[in-house]
């Protein structure tokens, strides 16, 4: 990873963390309706993968989708506006946290259905192949989704058709409350790739450099027409499944221990400073800029008009 990319991915990770922290505050203030799922702790995966993508490449995301959306280049103001139910939000208040999409940047949407985005990314990759473009589709999904039928059917289709797809499994150790050890009889989810005839690679999802390098190779392979890859990134979800999750399935020791041991932002700061890519003061400056950006984004979102009433049939059907 070159020096500029290192600083860029650090900023992306900081923007994701900042977005999640502010969302938690807004949620605590009852300004966000419904539920939100924090990506805190998993930032290195979205940032490291998307640093290798172009605006016209596609991603599909998950219910824990804020990080992917930000890493793919979304505007924080329009994201906050969506959470606040404003007309100025990405989905005009119709979708909310679990359905944010930004098609202008190739984000085909967060998804409230576990595993729901995997075949959709596969279809996007089919479009690229069919039309002869060199676009790539990346599907982000969790360890829970790796046990859905869509995972199996999609990876098989992509492999037999040599589609330009990359499947990124974010193993954050829990499918809602179920620990991975009780959901898989294998230690390494990446071994499943062999069953589909594609490369599978297990990577340290805490280390943005490892994610970046693996994704770069997988994306280049897809772009060159050599078919799909499965990446499995070991990670840890700092928060519960959703804000307010009592986390009865985890011990306090585990949560605090893992949070300290598994923080991609702390890690990135350490090696960026160690390797002389940027000083601690430089990184502090980035942190301040991001904090200001988030303040501005929330203020802009909060000033936006409430989402307009549902207009039928036009909101539901195109061309009517």
């Amino acid at each position: 990873m070159d020096r500029k990319t290192a600083r860029d991915v650090y900023r992306v990770m900081r923007r994701i963390r900042g977005f999640e922290e502010r969302s938690a505050t807004l949620f605590g203030e009852n300004k966000i309706w419904g539920t939100i799922h924090s990506y805190a702790g998993e930032e290195a995966i979205a940032a490291g993968v998307c640093a290798n993508l172009r605006d016209d490449d596609w991603i599909t995301s998950t219910h824990r989708g804020h990080g992917h959306c930000i890493a793919k280049g979304a505007d924080l103001g329009k994201m906050f506006a969506e959470l606040l139910g404003r007309e100025t939000g990405y989905c005009r208040g119709r979708g909310g946290s679990m359905h944010i999409a930004d098609t202008s940047k190739g984000n085909l949407g967060a998804n409230g259905i576990v595993g729901g985005g995997i075949p959709i990314a596969t279809g996007a990759a089919l479009t690229a192949k069919q039309l002869g473009t060199d676009q790539v589709a990346v599907s982000f999904f969790g360890d829970g989704a790796a046990n859905q039928g869509t995972f199996h059917e999609s990876l098989n289709l992509a492999a037999i058709w040599k589609l330009p797809a990359v499947y990124v499994c974010e193993n954050n150790q829990y499918a809602e409350s179920l620990p991975v050890k009780r959901a898989f009889a294998v230690d390494d989810i990446a071994v499943r790739a062999a069953g589909y005839g594609m490369p599978g690679l297990r990577i340290d999802g805490r280390d943005v450099r490892a994610v970046y390098d693996a994704a770069r190779e997988a994306i280049a392979r897809a772009r060159a027409g050599n078919g799909p890859t499965l990446l499995v990134a070991d990670s840890y979800r700092h928060e519960g499944h959703y804000y307010g999750d009592p986390r009865k399935y985890q011990s306090k020791d585990e949560i605090e221990g893992w949070r300290k041991r598994f923080d991609p932002l702390t890690d990135a700061r350490a090696w960026i400073v160690d390797e002389g890519i940027a000083s601690a003061a430089d990184l502090d400056a980035i942190d301040r800029e991001v904090a200001e950006e988030i303040d501005r984004a929330v203020a802009w979102a909060d000033a936006g008009p409430l989402a307009s009433p549902i207009a039928l049939p036009g909101d539901v059907y195109a061309g009517d």
Partner: protein, 335 residues
Amino acid sequence: MQATEARAPAAAREMFYSEALGDALRLEMARDERVIVIGEDIAEHGGAFQVTAGLLERFGPTRIRQTPISEIGIVGAAVGAALTGLRPVVELMYVDFAGLAMDQIVNQAAQNRFMFGGQARVPMVLRTQGGSGRGNAAQHSKSLEAWFAHVAGLKVVMPSTPGDAKGLLTAAIRDDNPVIFLEHKLLYRTKGPVPEGEHLVPLGKADVKRAGRDLVIVTWSREVLFALEAAERLARDEIEAEVVDARTLVPLDKETILASVRKTHRVLVLHEAVKRGGYGAEIAAMIAEEAFDDLDAPPRRLAGLETPIPYAQHLERSVVPQVDDIVRAAKELVA
């Protein structure tokens, strides 16, 4: 089909329903390279009901994309392809298999446009077939249109004649929304006049297949043929039944249905699907809400019994409306 024949333009050719559908696919694929067909057994085999016969030779294996048996993978890939610029036509072999793909149909295809605040379009067609009458028993014979009609974001089309099959499929492929296109397994080998070349039947337009003054039978798919046969028998007893083929359930052509109700003052809503929660209830309720004062009798429904489709031939016939049942119901309604 008499009325359709009378209106068919000169440049029409007798075709099987299956051929008419294939003709629509062939013309639309030639017209727009973004149109692809994706599904099981659609290549060399030509589709379980021969609708795609000959298309592999013409368009090759990338546009006639035969898949493994992976219903949710296929439908989901079509959703993703539609979101990103293709216009896929999925062939799902039996509507009964829709359960395997329902998340992608309902939670993804139908709702993407709405959930994303209008950022997305999902121009895809899901062609499948349903219905009983061929001894395929409970897992290959259902009529499930009500499932799809209940979901905001889907359009639902059920052609009864070869001409309508071609025209409605063409319109469905050009529509920018997910369209559930429900064929009937016993209609594939029915013949009728089909306009040559480009032929469009707009979605949301019902068709008066037979004019009559004493009652109107509102129906769709194979029951249209049964209704027309029943109407001929009723005419011998000087009962003139109008037959309205809804053709599209979503959007529904209320105006044509209500005009027939206002003319005949009696309505029989007829379908093969199970009566309970069937789409006929929606139509009967719509008529009661909007044309109550025009009715001389309560709207009546004749539909499938609340049972899975049985196997044995006589049993299979006993659970879905047959011509005799329609004649009897119509006579009771006008009595």
